[in-house]
């Protein structure tokens, strides 16, 4: 399970395709051959001349392509570690440099063995042409790889966030405890049991919507209020939530189910483990074009439970924020001996409705 998550994490973080696989090699050879055909077609005069041109340029370009693939196969790990933009810029420069070296070698070999039979151009002319063509083709290929890796990345991210959104909200602990509360209420207070079933259904309905959906702050707070009602039945006076969010524009949009899981975490890891309960504080401000929402809760000093579930919910929110806002949003956690707080910062966008 952990290994699988890690490897899928690595796949989402990789920008360069894996050049060591046969599939990538095939694509590279295909592109190289297409470039050779284009070059030969551009110089078309007679069919014989065309075939000779094609085989000459194929021979040279395939060498370049195969060596490039080998180089990237070896250096991928290092390139990836330098960061996204740098990885692409460095690959571009490396490949270009390699092309120039190979061109120079080809020229020299041609001098020694072929006596300029194959390359009929001046030294400088040949190198300059190789440089220009290689730069254009490599740049286009890089761009193609970049776009397709971004596309793959967003698909994986979205799939992951959908799954983890479900896992995050329907935390089994919450679901079964709520069911137990309802079972108890059916005898003592059927009316309240009825309400609890309705609330729970509404909550589950929200989770079954696509996690990509944005919602308004107003709706997100309503969902959270429903959740709060259910938890209140179970925890009674131990649970208090103070909302200080009147500064926020209620029509602003937010990825759905981002505030509710934070409250759930605050209850599960904080309030539930305090004998006298405590108060979850939700605050919200407008900061220029950004909205800042933070949720904080007291924690028990002697909590014996290791916090493994918490990480999952936080990862989930981080992923969904990244998917929705890229680098324009942030999720920060602050921990002290007796408080835990999470701050969401994201650009304000109003929904059309």
């Amino acid at each position: 399970m952990t290994a699988a998550t890690e490897s899928s994490d690595r796949e989402t973080q990789a920008y360069l395709p894996d050049f060591c696989t046969a599939a990538t090699l095939f694509v590279v050879v295909l592109i190289a051959e297409l470039v050779a055909i284009v070059l030969a077609l551009a110089a078309f005069e007679t069919i014989d001349g065309f075939l000779i041109d094609l085989s000459k340029s194929s021979f040279f370009i395939l060498w370049l392509a195969l060596l490039s693939t080998a180089l990237l196969c070896r250096l991928r790990g290092w390139l990836e570690s330098t960061g996204k933009t740098r990885a692409f810029v460095l690959s571009f420069l490396l490949l270009l440099l390699m092309c120039l070296v190979v061109a120079e070698l080809a020229w020299q070999l041609d001098r020694i063995f072929g006596r300029s039979l194959i390359i009929d151009d001046t030294h400088a002319g040949f190198i300059a042409r190789t440089f220009a063509i290689a730069a254009i083709v490599i740049a286009l290929t890089m761009r193609y790889l970049y776009v397709s890796s971004e596309w793959r990345r967003s698909i994986v991210l979205e799939a992951q966030s959908r799954i983890s959104a479900l896992q995050a909200l329907i935390r089994p602990h919450f679901l079964f405890n709520s069911m137990n509360t309802i079972a108890s209420l059916t005898r003592t207070d059927p009316r309240q049991a009825e309400e609890a079933v309705e609330d729970l259904s509404d909550l589950l309905r929200v989770t079954l919507r696509s996690s990509k959906d944005r919602t308004t702050l107003k709706e997100e707070f309503e969902t959270t209020a429903i959740y709060q009602r259910i938890e209140k039945l179970r925890l009674g006076d131990r649970l208090k939530i103070r909302w200080d969010v009147s500064d926020l524009p209620m029509r602003a949009s937010i990825p759905s189910l981002t505030i509710q899981p934070l409250i759930e975490n605050a209850i599960y890891h904080g309030i539930e483990l305090l004998p006298d309960g405590g108060e979850v504080l939700v605050t919200g401000q407008r900061n220029g074009d950004d909205l800042v929402i933070s949720v904080s809760n007291p924690v028990a000093a002697d909590a014996r439970r290791k916090n493994d579930g918490n990480k999952m919910a936080m990862t989930n929110i981080q992923q969904r924020f990244e998917l929705a806002y890229g680098s324009r949003a942030s999720v920060d956690v602050e921990e002290s001996a007796d408080t835990y707080s999470v701050t969401l910062r994201f650009p304000m966008g109003e929904t059309a409705q």
Partner: protein
């Protein structure tokens, strides 16, 4: 059969009460909302069976069960939980009784019939496997028929006295059943051994000083050292004690 219900959530306690009321042969002797209260009530009411929630604030169910074992007639334990995959795996392996919430009547009947006393070692294993620190938060001392729970933070030192170990804490001294060796294993992080027969809380040590006959003794934060005989550091342990003091 007298049953004690322990759960921090009122509706959950109510639910168990409803189910037990319908079952002949079982009487609800009382209910408790947390581990501490549960241990006190167990000592007072002497139930045959305790229905014990695992996740509770303050003292969780597994620690409460560990303390109940110190009673003269320890009750049989049935754990209740909404969802706790690791604990459940541990229960399954050791055939420890448990019921899942929402509690089903037939399942509760089955668990009550098979409820058994649990050995302390079994509980420690369960705690370790369920991702709960197996370190207790309290030490349990028996005072006449009552169980006294001494928070670890209140303890100055443990001292072995022939057969028993005596715990010296903010509110007095009491004899306990734990052995010094097992205490050292469990609380070695915060206690240090100063001689064959004593473990001292590192954060309670003020300084070390010399007695008239050249021995090293411990002065506690509260200034006490008059029972100096007990708090003399044996030569073999001086280096270790100094190291721990520097590290703290």
């Amino acid at each position: 059969m007298k049953v004690l219900i322990v759960d921090d959530e009122q509706p959950a306690r109510e639910r168990l009460r409803q189910l037990l009321d319908d079952m002949p042969g079982y009487d609800v002797a009382g209910d408790a909302g947390n581990g501490r209260e549960a241990v006190d009530l167990a000592a007072r009411l002497q139930p045959d069976i305790v229905l014990l929630d695992i996740r509770m604030p303050g003292m969780d169910g597994i620690e409460a069960a560990q303390h109940m074992n110190a009673l003269d007639a320890p009750p049989a334990i049935v754990f209740t939980t909404a969802y706790d995959e690791y604990a459940i795996d541990a229960f399954e392996v050791r055939a420890i009784g448990y019921v899942l919430k929402p509690v089903r009547r037939s399942r509760l009947e089955g668990a009550l019939e098979q409820a058994a006393r649990l050995a302390a070692s079994t509980l420690a294993e369960v705690a370790a496997e369920s991702g709960i620190e197996s370190r207790r938060q309290h030490i349990c001392a028996k005072v006449q028929d009552e169980l006294l729970l001494v928070p670890i933070a209140d303890i100055s030192y443990f001292q072995a006295d022939q057969k028993y170990v005596c715990v010296h804490h903010d509110n007095g001294e009491h004899l306990i059943d734990d052995s010094l060796k097992s205490l050292e294993k469990e609380f070695g992080d915060s206690f240090v051994r100063i001689h064959r027969g004593a473990l001292v809380a590192v954060n309670r040590i003020d300084r070390l000083d010399r007695t008239g006959d050249g021995k090293t003794r411990i002065v506690l934060r509260d200034g006490s050292h008059d029972d100096a005989k007990q708090l003399i550091i044996s030569r073999r342990h001086v280096a270790e004690v100094k190291k721990r003091l520097r590290a703290s």
